[in-house]
């Protein structure tokens, strides 16, 4: 029997389970960026986008997603789960620092900031990306 949380109207169509007492684990997470199917490439690109966005100014998670969407003109839309997962990964790798700030309504928001190691990683990754992109472009133009 699945356990039920206190019901809220919007929850009725979703099987909501409390983690502690039932043993259920998620399926594969849905693709982060809507367009590309290959997860490995997605993860690498996602890291680059996040690092680049944060190189301009510190931001909270939602803001990062929105900024990427705006600047890429809707090509890249990151869903919440993948974004937060990537932010956790980058923070644990030492490329971001995170701190809690108070918003209005006495709520907390987590703000991420690029570290010096992160800046170096950004350079490495963008150089790598540029190199790969130009190689692909050369290959695509090869028959011409």
């Amino acid at each position: 029997m699945p356990c039920r949380r206190g019901a809220r109207s919007a929850d009725r169509h979703i099987l909501t389970i409390k983690m502690r007492n039932c043993i259920v684990l998620p399926h594969h997470p849905p693709g982060a960026l809507v367009e590309e199917p290959n997860t490995d490439v997605i993860q690498g690109t996602l890291d680059l986008l996040i690092l680049k966005t944060l190189s301009l100014e510190p931001m909270h998670g939602y803001g990062i997603g929105r900024r990427v969407e705006q600047i890429s003109r809707g090509v890249f839309r990151i869903n919440a789960g993948s974004l937060l997962t990537a932010l956790q990964r980058l923070e644990r790798a030492g490329w971001l620092d995170a701190e809690w700030r108070q918003t209005e309504n006495a709520r907390r928001a987590r703000y991420y900031r690029l570290t010096r190691a992160g800046r170096k990683q950004l350079e490495v990754e963008s150089a790598d990306w540029k190199r790969r992109a130009s190689a692909v472009a050369r290959l695509l133009n090869a028959e011409g």
Binding site: T16, V24, P26, Y62, A109
Partner: protein, 887 residues
């Protein structure tokens, strides 16, 4: 990649789970609020904005799940949850848990114990630095087998060979330690000064021998072991520099070996002294007897092959500087082995066979536990179907089931360590005297690692099949499964496993049976003497080591008189070599009738220098001629007795009486008079009951070239042999107080001890076979009992439709016996193949002996029948009304 952050963040989630969850929830909530705020900015009402935001985000729980599952702590958390669940399940099924854990403990403990014995012998290198570079060099004996070298050979090879950085020669030595409390006979070695350098282990205290110590008539110095220093001299510091009396002479202790030093060439050696042999060109001294073992350490960058080739080349090119006698001319070259191979060669087949056998037992144990898990898995189909429906992937289910089986294996392994400890103690206590490296048999780090590895392996293997089949089950059918009493799945798998069990058990039982019969055959062999009521002990003329032969002769004659006067003694005699005692004393015999003068065509024969009463004491029958008498003494013609086999071999079809021979050091010397054969006696087994037809010759103790310093006293008594031991010892000490008396045993005990290695192997195999039989019986019972439970309903229907109790009984029993018979047939094939590895341990019996096979088959089928009958009775007692209503 910041390792520190990975660790700390993960740990924080594990330790402060609530705070971490709250953080995550806050972050997601913030996300949601930002989304909603955007919608509000686009003009929706706050409520609508919230709803739209939630739709766009998806399930916030799923989001949190996704983030949480990407950390390493999630795997740990999952593992912990799985373990807790598994532990709960095991606790709630105590019967299953106890049976499985005990079965696994038995199998794992046995394997670990055997591994601890096998590891130092088969796998680990000898306990010396670079042990693989130590080689042993032997000469060729008359039958092509390796034989000890002479000191002269060692001198030549050591001087001429360039392939070895050091070489050393080792001689056996059993000095009498006198002057302190009780005279004691020590085991030791006489070595060249380079010995410890070859091994690579210098003394821990004091100094090693040097070249100055090893000259003829050099200083009397000795190195002692740590054990001896502690035991007799009050500690290692106290003994250094002290004078000890060995064989009547004072020796100065110059060094003490480290604690834990293993002298693999003679494991019980406690004292070493320099050999102090020199060059001897007259070929008549002990320097030219084949009684030394030669070891050498390879020079750097030289391989064993290169060294062997160089030694063979040296052997085939004699030089004037190193003259060789005919019996040590190295015509056939030398035999070179790695020391490790040499030391362990004898026991290797027995150990490998034991290792295979114990792995079979472990396999049977695993099969049993797998069957139990499969049976439980059949009952848990509903649970697995529910989990799969709730979203658990197949890999998740498998990993959970493997965690359960690993936990089971871990419990079994922990208990198995206790079993292994007992097993190791038993192994050391029961080990035959010749087992090399007994001191290294213990539970050490390597054994623990092995136990860990094999426990993990067993856990995975045992859980694998049940996990696969459970995760593959049909969801729909599983959820719908109402009664536990319909026929479950996996029948074929379980039946196959039971058949495998029975086959393995048969192989083990056949091995044990063959060994048992071998031992019976061995002890049915007549030793050639009558061992009952005979007691023996070794007497040493310690204080007369340097006196002349006549003094020693007088000592032994007086001792014999004193012993004969002890009440209860029928007859007593001395002999230089005791049958079936491990003595090995062979000399050449030259026949006058032999055509060629080449001493290599001589016969090698065991030498017995005896007093005349010897044959009466041992009841060795006389076949022709006469026995030795008191008139055969110094000054008269030397009389020699030979045994039947020697007579047949040397004088086929002729009468050996009156033939002339030269024995021992006189063989081949034309200036010495001929001895005369005066009688032929029956064969006597010397090395072991399994080896027969050796050549023996007997001479009177006054007529041999010397009087042995150590002789074995044999006494025939009227009543119990062992009861007279104290009185006999007193009689010996009444002649010389300081004479050490060792190897006191009744002849019966010596004969029984000769089959030490075979008996040891038999004990092991019997234990394994019994364990296998019990496990196989439990396995059959388990499968059938489970089958009966599952088929209760069907049996009830059959009974209701009119099947008699007998019919139901037959049904169940026939099922079980079919499995057993198939297992037996497969096992027969396996036994025929695998008994090849036992070939060296068998005696007097073919490995296809039909009686053994028949007996084992009957035993196994009988036990299987009993195992089938119990659940069959339960099935036959089923009351259909109760069964059918219980649904």
């Amino acid at each position: 990649m910041s390792l520190w952050r990975q660790m700390t963040r993960g740990l924080r989630v594990l330790v402060h789970r609530r705070a971490a969850d709250q953080d995550l929830a806050d972050e997601v909530t913030d996300f949601l609020n930002q989304l909603a705020a955007e919608h509000v900015a686009r003009g929706l009402s706050p409520a609508d904005a919230q709803r739209a935001a939630r739709l766009e985000l998806g399930s916030s729980t799923m989001v949190r799940e996704q983030v949480r599952s990407s950390g390493w702590e999630n795997a740990v958390g999952t593992l912990v949850a799985d373990l807790r669940f598994a532990a709960r399940r095991l606790r709630s099924n105590p019967g299953f848990t106890i049976v499985s854990v005990l079965t696994l403990a038995l199998g794992l403990g046995a394997v670990t114990a055997i591994f601890s014995a096998v590891n130092p012998i088969l796998f680990e290198p000898l306990p010396y630095p670079d042990a693989g570079r130590i080689l042993m060099v032997s000469d060729f004996g008359t039958d092509g087998a390796p034989v000890d070298v002479t000191f002269g050979t060692y001198r030549e090879l050591a001087a001429r060979s360039r392939s070895f950085s050091t070489m050393a020669a080792v001689d056996a030595w059993q000095p009498a330690l006198t002057g302190t409390a009780e005279p004691e006979r020590l085991t030791g070695q006489r070595v060249t000064a380079t010995y410890f350098r070859v091994l690579g282990v210098p003394p821990a205290l004091g100094r090693d021998f040097d070249a100055a110590d090893d000259q003829p008539h050099g200083p009397r110095v000795a190195i002692v072991s740590d054990g001896l220093a502690q035991r007799r001299f009050g500690g290692t510091r106290a003994v250094l520099g002290r004078q000890v009396t060995l064989d009547g002479d004072p020796y100065t202790v110059v060094g003490v070996m480290p604690r834990g030093f293993e002298n693999v060439l003679t494991p019980s050696a406690e004292v070493w002294a320099p050999r102090q042999y020199g060059a001897n060109t007259s070929f008549d001294g002990p320097e030219w007897g084949h009684h030394m073992r030669l070891v050498g350490r390879l020079a750097p960058d030289i391989t064993a092959d290169q060294a062997t080739r160089e030694l063979q080349a040296i052997a085939h090119t004699p030089v004037a500087e190193f003259p060789r006698p005919p019996w040590a001319n190295l015509d056939h070259g030398v035999i070179v082995h790695a020391l490790q191979a040499d030391v362990t060669a004898g026991v290797r087949p027995a150990l490998v066979a034991s290792l295979i056998a114990v792995l079979l037992v472990l396999a049977i144990a695993c099969v049993n536990v797998t069957n139990l898990l499969l049976a439980r898995g059949a009952q848990r189909r509903g649970e697995f179907a529910m989990r799969a429906a709730l979203g658990a992937g197949r890999r998740r289910l498998i990993s959970q089931l493997l965690t359960e089986s690993l936990l089971l294996a871990a419990l079994g392994g922990a208990l198995g360590l206790a079993v292994a400890d007992l097993g190791v103690r038993a192994l050391v206590a029961l080990s035959p005297p010749g087992l090399p490296r007994v001191n290294a048999i213990r539970l050490d780090a390597a054994v623990f690692l092995f136990a860990l590895g094999i426990t993990a392996f067993v856990g995975l293997v045992v859980g694998f099949v049940p996990a696969l089949s459970a995760s593959r089950s049909d969801l729909h059918a599983g959820l719908q499964q109402g009664s536990q009493r319909t026929a479950g799945g996996h029948r074929l798998t379980r039946n196959v496993l039971v058949v495998a069990e029975v086959a393995l058990a048969l192989v083990l039982l056949v091995s044990a049976g063959l060994l048992l019969r071998s031992l019976e055959r061995l002890f049915a062999v007549a030793p050639g003497l009558d061992p009952s009521h005979v007691v023996t002990m070794q007497v040493e003329a310690a204080s007369h080591l340097h006196d002349g032969d006549s003094t020693r002769f007088r000592f032994f004659a007086q001792t014999l008189d004193a012993v004969e006067r002890v009440p209860g003694v029928t007859a007593a005699a001395f002999t230089s070599q005791l049958p079936l005692s491990g003595d090995f004393d062979k000399y050449g015999v030259q026949l006058a009738s032999a055509p060629s003068d080449d001493p290599n065509a001589d016969y090698g024969a065991f030498r017995y220098m005896v007093t005349p009463a010897y044959f009466a004491v041992m009841r060795i029958p006389l076949r022709r001629g006469r026995l030795l008498t008191d008139f055969d003494r110094a000054g008269t013609v030397e009389a020699v007795l030979i045994n039947e086999s020697f007579a047949r071999r040397a004088f086929p079809g002729q009468d050996p009486i009156g033939q002339r021979v030269r024995v021992g050091p006189e063989a081949g010397r034309t200036d010495r008079p001929w001895d005369v054969i005066v009688g032929v006696v029956g064969d006597v087994k010397q090395a072991s009951l399994a080896i027969g037809d050796e050549n023996d010759f007997y001479v009177a103790s006054g007529q041999w070239a010397w009087v042995d310093n150590v002789q074995s006293l044999v006494v025939r008594t009227q009543g119990s042999a062992t009861a007279l031991i104290p009185a006999i010892k007193q009689a010996i000490w009444s002649v010389d107080r300081s004479s050490p008396i060792v190897r006191v045993a009744s002849m019966d005990a010596l004969v029984a001890a000769t089959a030490g290695q075979r008996r040891f192997a038999l004990t092991l195999f019997e234990a394994f076979a019994l364990a296998a039989l019990a496990l196989a019986a439990i396995g059959i019972y388990g499968v059938l009992a489970g089958g009966v439970t599952e088929r209760m309903r069907e049996i009830g229907v059959r009974a209701a439709l009119g099947a008699s109790r007998g019919a139901i009984l037959t049904l169940i029993v026939r099922q079980g016996m079919t499995l057993a018979v198939i297992g037996v047939l497969i096992g027969l094939g396996g036994a025929v193949l695998s008994t090849r590895s036992l070939a060296t341990l068998l005696f007097g019996i073919s490995r296809l002996d039909p009686i053994t096979y028949l007996g084992v088959i009957v035993l196994l089928l009988g036990v299987a029948a009993v195992a089938c009958w119990i659940p069959a009775r339960r099935a036959a007692a089923v009351d259909p009304i109760i069964t059918l209503r219980a649904e």
